[in-house]
């Protein structure tokens, strides 16, 4: 039997980047805000203590900061002819848990999508004709443009202190920055990170090929910075423990470094941790949310009434909560009808590992977003006509770390153990670098999310089922990108290279990327989207859903910059809603 709590103005599900930003902004308007987070509270000082943070076994191998599959997992199959089985141990992606969410353990690669990405369907058909669109795609334009989002990208970047060099300020190309990016109003708040030896070689080789390399924008800060919320950060020390770790230096932008110190001071804000929201409750008409139900660790169920419900969990779990709450019609791939779970997408990774004769790359001296990148092959920055695929990739020479349990490279053909392996590991660690392509994944009729018919979580609720595989379009694109990476790696002076393309079905085993997108997408048509352009549910107007679940398909970049921009963009919609509750867009 659930116990009913006093009503709040706003209940927020999940206290990561999007939840903490909205909580702070709405609490500052004087609203009573409660954030309910299923994982523990986490602070830099205690949980990412410098004496305990750099522990590869604990955090990268045993995965201490992540959601435990025991608490909730996802079932997986490559296509609808197969039977999905639970991901018993995380591999391909690693969902966060606890206060800060994925914003505590990310690498900090903070991109803006390109203007063409937001109208990719219209753009590709206009330029190349409908024949270029892949079979069974459900690619759709975003309901917002780059120009509309630009001020909100700016807000997120200045909140997070992002280190980078602008390449295009109001249409003026800036030397040293990304000449191919969309125009921005001003430069980054802090200068780019200092680049390492691999980036020097990459920048020289790419420039000689007529490409346009630049230092990758980074949430690992080059300089000390105080953000508009009054939160201060320190400079990055290139410790090499970003991804999968909390930062002990207050150098990596995260809710802990950039938002929470200001948020907890707001008198109308309260966080409840170790409490799992099980359902968004709906009024009898099914068109209004009355609040949420959650369960604490004792198994006690609580009802938290609220006027406004903001769903701010990780993208996959946003989708599951909508499915479990009956908000929006579930997607059916057989009829291609319904919306919740539709347009699930991911990210491709391909590239070239470069073995040098003699070099000292010092891979341990690294930061999550240290790297030199180029966008010459991203989005529609190159002529797609000869290649016959849609999409692109950002190409980067980077180290995020040299942590040896997971990183002890050997040249192709080396035995996997024994003295010959040991000798190769010894001789190779310092002389390897790589050029990688992080590519877009389009949306398809057969890649989707729904509830699993068999497997349940400990509370007895169905796990979500993921049906996903890379399609020919993505395989072709990733292969093309791998060849481009290999050309650059060879031009950098590599003696030997090893090219990686997308081979075989998508597997949950090796880590690939936690850039899971879609499933609750934003759009202009309620028949093909869950949310309107303000991330407001078409069906239940006092529910807004943040996060990468809103992406109609994924671009060739990390998602967080766009997730942050959408959050500030949605905030404008929420403010409008508060003045006059109801749908912000008429269906």
């Amino acid at each position: 039997m659930s116990r009913r709590l006093p009503a709040k103005d706003v209940v927020i599900v999940g206290l990561g980047w999007t939840g903490s930003i909205l909580a702070l902004e709405l609490a500052r308007l004087g609203l009573d805000v409660v954030a309910i987070e299923r994982g523990p509270w986490r602070d830099t000082a205690a949980d990412f203590n410098i004496g305990t943070a750099p522990d590869e076994l604990r955090y990268a191998v045993r995965q201490e900061l992540f959601l435990r599959p025991k608490q909730e997992s996802i079932t997986m199959r490559n296509n609808t002819t197969q039977t999905a089985l639970p991901i018993r141990k995380w591999g391909s992606f690693l969902p966060g848990n606890g206060v800060g969410g994925a914003g505590t353990h990310w690498n900090g690669q903070t991109w803006r999508f390109l203007p063409d990405d937001f109208r990719i369907r219209s753009h590709m058909i206009e330029r190349y004709g409908a024949a270029i669109m892949p079979k069974d795609n459900t690619i759709q334009d975003w309901p917002v443009s780059y120009a509309e989002l630009e001020p909100y990208y700016d807000r997120f970047e200045y909140m997070a202190g992002i280190s980078g060099k602008a390449g295009n300020i109001k249409g003026q190309i800036q030397p040293g920055g990304n000449a191919l990016e969309g125009p921005r109003a001003r430069d980054y708040p802090t200068p780019p990170l200092r680049q390492g030896y691999a980036q020097e070689l990459f920048t020289k080789a790419a420039t000689e090929k007529g490409l346009h390399p630049f230092p990758r924008p980074s949430a690992n800060l080059s300089n000390a910075y105080t953000n508009p919320y009054g939160c201060s950060m320190g400079p990055c020390t290139y410790c090499g423990f970003c991804e999968w770790f909390g930062c002990a230096n207050y150098s990596k932008a995260s809710p802990q470094t950039c938002v929470l110190p200001a948020l907890v001071r707001e008198p109308t804000f309260e966080a409840r941790t170790d409490c799992e929201v099980t359902k968004v409750n709906l009024a009898a008409d099914g068109k209004t949310a009355t609040g949420v139900t959650y369960v604490d660790l004792h198994g006690q169920e609580w009802e938290q009434p609220a006027s406004l419900v903001l769903v701010c969990a990780f993208s996959l779990f946003n989708v599951r909560l909508l499915l479990l709450s009956g908000i929006g019609k579930p997607y059916d791939p057989n009829t291609n009808e319904g919306v919740v779970g539709r347009n699930y997408a991911y990210q491709t990774g391909s590239g070239s590992t470069a073995f040098f004769e003699d070099a000292k790359f010092n891979p341990f001296a690294a930061a999550g977003s240290l790297g030199a990148a180029l966008d010459d092959y991203n989005s529609d920055n190159f002529d797609h006509a000869p290649h016959g695929f849609v999409g692109g990739a950002s190409i980067t020479a980077a180290y995020t770390n040299g942590r040896p349990i997971n990183y002890h490279p050997t040249p192709p053909g080396t035995p996997t153990w024994g003295s010959a392996w040991k000798k190769a590991v010894h001789e190779t660690y310092q002389r390897v670098t790589s050029v990688g392509a992080q590519g877009s994944v389009m949306s398809y009729r057969g890649n989707y999310l729904d509830l699993d018919p068999t497997y349940k979580d400990p509370l007895g609720r169905p796990l979500m089922r993921m049906t996903f595989d890379y399609q020919d379009n993505e395989r072709k694109m990733a292969g093309f990108m791998a060849d481009r990476c290999d050309e650059i790696a060879k031009a950098m002076g590599a003696k030997q290279t090893q090219v990686k393309k997308l081979v075989g079905p998508w597997s949950v085993v090796p880590y690939q990327t936690t850039h899971n997108t879609g499933g609750a997408v934003m759009g202009n048509d309620p028949k093909t989207s869950v949310l309107n352009r303000y991330l407001q549910s078409w069906d239940v107007s006092n529910v807004f859903v943040m996060g990468a679940s809103a992406f109609p398909q994924n671009a060739g970049y990390n998602p967080t910059g766009t997730v942050g921009a959408l959050t500030y963009w949605a905030l404008e919609g929420i403010k409008t809603y508060l003045k006059s509750p109801g749908p912000l867009v008429q269906a």
Binding site: D43, P404, T454, V509
Partner: protein
């Protein structure tokens, strides 16, 4: 505000049991951390095995010594304490797959892309797998156990297990190989606080400086050898026996 009992418990990777968090918690007004609050793992010091029997430990010693041998490049896995590391990992939450999704039904024919689908925890994999290996060796090698085989015999057998060609009685040889292999890499390269990587042998082999946490000087001087010795979470031996750092 209530303080979670999570705060009294230790690291996930220590051998002590670790509760997720014992109760819900409300935070408002100020950040809830206390001065000097931290959750270090418990340092492990050599002692008797807690999981392995002497026979099992001898077999694991022999296996890890072939996977990463001691040679002119320095100590191998056995001499770096990897067997002890594995023993302690198996007695902790990892050993029971305590954090993983272990609810049935378990499929008899999962797709390779669906990853781990076995019901067997690491503890069961070692117990059953080592027993099957012992029985296989005794039958195949005239009563000798794995540890009594010659180096060449051990290598040949391990290579067959890696491929899954060796048929152990009632146990998949590849599963045992993969468990030992993964844990050997962990134990050889993890922070020495967990009992392996003794004298930072693994870190010295590749040139990983450990947890120094500040490489601004390295970034400033590209393509130069790094010369400082590695440091672990507990410092390094020279700091505690009075030698110069």
């Amino acid at each position: 505000m209530t303080r979670s009992t999570r705060r009294q418990l230790l690291s996930a990777t220590a051998f002590l049991a670790f509760a997720n968090s014992a109760c819900a918690r409300t935070v408002s007004g100020s950040l809830p951390w206390q001065p000097n609050e931290a959750y270090p793992p418990s340092p492990l010091h050599p002692g008797p095995y807690l999981f392995f029997s002497p026979t099992e430990a001898a077999a694991v010693d022999a296996m890890v010594a072939r996977l990463i041998p001691t040679d002119d490049l320095g100590p191998g896995a056995k001499d770096a304490g990897v067997t002890f590391f594995i023993d302690r990992q198996l007695t902790g939450p990892y050993g029971g797959h305590d954090w993983l999704y272990m609810q049935g039904p378990f499929s008899a024919n999962p797709l390779p892309s669906q990853g781990l689908q076995s019901e067997l925890t690491p503890r069961q994999q070692y117990r059953l797998g080592l027993a099957a290996l012992s029985s296989y060796c005794k039958t195949t090698f005239n009563g000798r156990g794995f540890a009594e085989l010659s180096g060449d015999e051990q290598d040949k057998l391990l290579a067959g297990m890696e491929k899954g060609d060796v048929k152990l009685p009632g146990f998949e040889s590849r599963m045992l190989f993969q468990a030992v292999y993964a844990n050997t890499m962990e134990g050889f390269f993890a922070d020495p606080i967990y009992g392996g990587n003794r004298d930072m042998a693994g870190w010295k082999l590749v040139g990983f400086p450990g947890v120094r946490y500040d490489y601004r000087d390295v970034i400033a001087k590209p393509n130069q050898a790094y010369t400082l010795p590695p440091v672990g979470m507990q410092g390094r031996p020279a700091w505690t026996v009075g030698e110069k750092p």
